[in-house]
Amino acid sequence: MPTQNVEIPQFTLADKSAPSVTTDAPHERAWQPEFLSPRGE
């Protein structure tokens, strides 16, 4: 559930990882063309 408190994670960090801060982008979810015959998408 949402909270306004950032608690320290209670698990061991993954060894082969590095800090990553990403976001999501609406432009990647805007559209996929129709799948048509005979020319595909």
Binding site: P2, A18, S20, D24, E28, R29, F35, S37
Partner: protein, 496 residues
Amino acid sequence: MTAVPPDDLISRIDLALGSDPRFADAPAIEARNLARYRLGLRILARHHPGAADRLELLSRAGDDELRPVMYDPVLRNAFENDMVALETGKGPSDALAGYLVSGAADPSGGALDGLGPCERLSRPHVRPWPRHSGSWVWTDLDGAARPQQALTARLEELLAGTLSKDGSDNRVVPDAALLAALSRGAGLLTELLPSAGTGVLPHVSLIGFARYDDGDETLNSVSGGDPLPSALFLAPARLDDPWTAAETLFHEGLHLKLFDVLRTGSMVADPDRLVPIPWRTRSWTLTRVLFAMHVYAHLLLFRAAAAEAGPGLRAKYGPPPATEDVDQATPGSEAAARGGYTTSLERVTYLARQAAEVHGDMLTAEGRDFIGWLIGAVTPLAPGILSEGGPVAGPPAAVPAVEPPAPLEPRGYRQARPVHVCPIPEQRRLVAVSPGTPRFRWLNDHAWLIYALCDGRDLAALREGYLRAAGQGAEDGLRHGVAGLLSAGLIEPVGA
């Protein structure tokens, strides 16, 4: 060395393509999406005081109540539009709040029924694969009464905007035979690929049918992104043969899965990057390349599994197609003139190399990991898709590709306020959003720890806390983590 039996290999790849928590496992992807919705509803509540109670209440609801509402095509579209309006400074817009306040999304009598707002209006109610998910069929909608009238009108409007032909004129109301063929196609898909095949179905909320054929082109199928979320439409002819039906459901379900993955992590940094496609006359965006590659890679598995299908499946569903039916090259394209690119393997090889090796600099770390996972999973079926030692063949990039970070602030950092966060410890992730700049930020375990340690303590204490957990060699990680959090607006230097 003993050769791996084909069916064991197929089972292993099926499991790999259906179980990865970041890119494939439907419950894990759904958990991230629900966390995102809970946060987004809190943000919308701050901007719409008149609907704040309804929005907050939905944010606090259990998954079984939240999911049907937020995976409804009309309400999901409204939410995404409202969030984009805030992100781009055009907002606030109140589409979602409007549906909630009007009562259009409420079950009759107020009792929870497990149905989404649009599904509730369908007559008859049809769930074609209830053992696997709550997907429902657009039969007829009983939307004559207010306030539900707004939902039916909006759903028709979204469909019309998704099909290149006028959607409302082309929609087909399914009869019993068509519904039976739909369930049969899904049955084949889940029996053939119990993990990867079954795993696309929870990403489908709405299944509709549409038909058009103008002589030049015939609709096979289509699925929606944010403009018509969680919905796919099939041409009835695609259900004539169960193998074609299963493959088409797989194809469009994979698109819907990837849309859900992309709601919790961007893969392409440059939306305008174009990639030439030898079997088409127009270039594709890099995002479209990833979508097509995703499907073609899975089709390698589908076809391998079909070729190895046992007598039980063949007796039940008939023989699989003897040859691969890949759509034609566009007239005027390089492939139309010179040949080639007539198989899924040729196409996925080209797309993967373009994405990973030619345009890899435009992928996010998530995008690089995605290609590494996807192509790595199907490589036993088709060795050599990626060049040996290609950019994603090795371990994922250890450090995000950002500008060299500035020196760290000796007085330390603190979290920017206000902020709403939602921890997902089982996935080692935290999602955060600040109402001032409402953009969802996804932190992995390392970034989450650094963020939590940015509580006003000085740099020496921050460094000591992080290196104790990450190892003494993680100084660069700390610098990049702080830079990423600063860039996202989640922290600020003490004293700023």
